[in-house]
Subunit: 198 residues, 2 copies
């Protein structure tokens, strides 16, 4: 891979992706123009098309891939080890903190909603992201419950949906309350029975 591309070239390419991702988060994919990207990266039109021959759609696809990686990375190391109730709580807090910090800017939203409709490859990126995410949650749910496979899967999906929903509401309203409530409610069935009740 990266055939015929010097270190400088690769750096420029990466710079474009990162800047485009930021713009996309800020203004949405639809509002992000090639000129915006050009201005933000101090590059020329020809460079954009040099590194992304398909043009705009090519850049957006790269952004999608990049953002998909970021989404999971922001949840680490928690997402990788959800073996105890405490670790689930840690994960919950990490997600909450991350999106609180991001505020209105949501990578997933732009990708799924805006790109997903037109670009089929962006869709497949989103799908594989969800799959990976779900798999991690399934492992975690398995570790802390004794439910069957089907119940575990449903639980994991409800948690994933809770995150998505909370983020959507955050985007729409600017309030983190929804994400907080949704996350808390979604993982609370995983809490072990309290000792005092025993």
């Amino acid at each position: 891979m990266n055939k015929g591309m010097t270190a400088k070239g690769r750096a420029t390419r990466q710079r474009i992706i990162v800047a485009a991702a930021m713009l996309t988060r800020d203004k949405g994919a639809a509002e992000t123009t090639l000129d915006d990207v050009r201005a933000a990266t101090a590059t020329s039109k020809s460079q954009l098309f040099h590194y992304f021959p398909e043009g705009r759609s090519d850049i957006l696809a790269a952004v999608a891939e990049y953002e998909a990686g970021q989404v999971l990375e922001a949840q680490q190391p928690h997402l990788g080890d959800l073996s105890t109730w405490e670790s689930w709580q840690g994960w919950r807090q990490a997600v909450l903190d991350h999106y609180t910090e991001l505020g209105q800017k949501c990578p997933l939203g732009s990708l799924t909603t805006e790109l997903g409709k037109s670009s089929p490859q962006a869709r497949s990126i989103a799908t594989s992201l969800y799959d990976e995410w779900e798999a991690a949650l399934v492992r975690g749910v398995e570790a802390v419950t004794s439910d069957g496979e089907e119940a575990v899967r449903r639980r994991a999906r409800s948690i994933l949906a809770a995150v998505q929903g909370g983020v959507v509401m955050l985007q729409g309203t600017g309030r983190t309350d929804y994400l907080d409530a949704a996350l808390t409610a979604a993982i609370s069935p995983l809490r072990p029975v309290t000792v005092s009740a025993e």
Copy 2:
């Protein structure tokens, strides 16, 4: 209101809104052009600007308002009376059916994600929709639990987020499993303790 507008005029205006809403659901707001709307409604450019002086953004705002109404309407009569566990189940099924039928086409997604970022008035429409929705859920949760106000509110928000999340996942993956799982999990704490356990 509707000053200086004949019945015919109002009908045309409405036709434009409905058609634009359909296009927006299908292709997303960003991909919907005035010419598309024109073609779909058999109108002329001048009519578009006659009924929506601000142009495109004006139309999109009207669509937002229209769609917001539809969202709640699709949940009636269930949403209006969530006083029993059975009625909650009925509501859950109604939501599930409705979005299953819509498939990939989501009114909310386009509005919140695409319009919300640029148009402030679209945001306020979304916000008031959420408020109304949440209020209905709060009333329902209150009716079937004995929790305090704060807990009720959090529960309602988690349910609302579950719907949103499920719909996002439906859009992204095409599968209704997520919405199903999320809804089920979100309202299951409202289920009364089973008689057999008593």
